[in-house]
């Protein structure tokens, strides 16, 4: 059973989103996703300043096994990317909800987070895949 923190929101495509106090949204991939991907070896981060809609591509994560698109859980403008992953992509496997975050965005409308899955609903998505 994978780790699904109750305080985060989730997309069915396995990204997590966290509304920070400064109003930005931090995005990463779930424990379930990193486990399914296996050893992560490369992250293609989105450009800072890029505006994306909800469910639009915002980067790629590559494991030894496969490449997988990362989608923006909510629409907004990318305001930070996790440069530390360039040299230590394995952080995504080790700490998917912490130091393994991918990017931050300024949401077009923070209320869009309400449309995402809560931990319980996301756990069902994961269970259906197993």
């Amino acid at each position: 059973m994978s780790d699904i923190p109750a305080e985060l929101k989730y997309a069915a495509t396995h990204e997590w989103a966290k509304l920070e106090e400064d109003g930005t949204v931090t995005v990463g991939i779930s424990d379930h996703a990193q486990s399914a991907l296996g050893d992560v070896v490369y992250i293609e981060a989105p450009e800072i300043g890029l505006t994306v809609g909800a469910q639009e591509e915002a980067g790629v994560v590559e494991s030894v096994k496969a490449a997988s698109d990362i989608y923006a859980p909510v629409g907004g403008t990318i305001c930070a990317v996790n440069d530390a992953l360039t040299d230590a992509p394995e952080t995504v496997n080790q700490d998917p909800y912490g130091d393994g975050w991918f990017f931050k965005l300024t949401p077009t409308d923070a209320a869009d987070l309400d449309d995402l899955l809560d931990a319980e609903a996301y756990a069902e998505v994961c269970a259906d895949e197993e």
Binding site: G38, D39, Y42, E62, V64, A67, N93
Partner: protein
Amino acid sequence: MADKTPLFDAHVAAGGKMVDFAGWMMPVNYGSQIEEHTAVRSDAGMFDVSHMTIVDIDGPDAEDFLRKVIANDVTTLAEYQALYGAALNAHGGILDDLIVYRLPKGFRVVVNASTREKMLDWFDAQAMTNMRIEHKPQIMLAVQGPEAINKLLAATDLPELSIKPFFAAAHGDWLIGRTGYTGEDGVEVMLPVEQGLALWQSLLAAGVKPAGLGARDTLRLEAGLNLYGQDMSEATSPYVSNIGWTVAWEPADRGFIGRHALQDVRLAPTHKLTGIILGDKGVLRHDQSVVTDAGPGVVTSGTYSPTMQRSIGLVRVPAQAGDDCSVDIRGSLKKARLVKPPFVRKGKILAN
């Protein structure tokens, strides 16, 4: 419903993440593919390869049959010697790659899992009068790595193993070949199911790390070894698949299937299969387009090399292509360089 090897429960017990591969539920990894890869390069790992197809062929016509269906020549094989080769169709395309051992009575051929039905049918169709073909389901364990043989000896009551590379030895019901698919020293052991289950447990206890299909792929790619169905197929001849060396043209009167079709091709192949190292960050993958000074090519296998910590692959490009090239990764051209495989052998990086 996918097949299971007799070791299925052992894989699950070891934490194996099971996936469908060519109709078989096989472990892709047991946690970390990179750790499994590193274990094989620096110590010892084991792979369940029982999904591969073991075929015993004997009888007075067995040798002539194999001289017909394999482009390499079994005639010169000493007893217990192994030979790598390809079975070709009449057009010179590769039906499969295989290993054949000469045994005291007849031969043992090991073909791929993904080609089982096709090859058993093909052998039946080409069979000669006085011979017998028997598909022999057994456990096959590949124990690979610099410490593989020491740990195998520690795990069993085998006496000293003094098998030369590409030879085999029989011990009771076991056939132990000093062969593999990793670029490291090691053996492949074929044995009856009950004994194979016990051997897996003994090897585990001796500290041999279970390794999955994921590590098997990165290891074979670093070793520059082809994967059937990916780097070569019925649409490609040995001469555009980097295994032209396995086609035996002498003696001139050996009429192996595919000989006629390859007669001219071999002198001037249009393409070559060779290695590639990605200069930029990113990961090479099967089917990405390659741009060379002599025309387009394609990545046949690509991965991240845990040993080299960069992306490597095999590509099929025009025969005249120069070394500097680029690869289209999601619409952007990334710099890469062609190199002669292997990339890594016996723990050492050979290509840079």
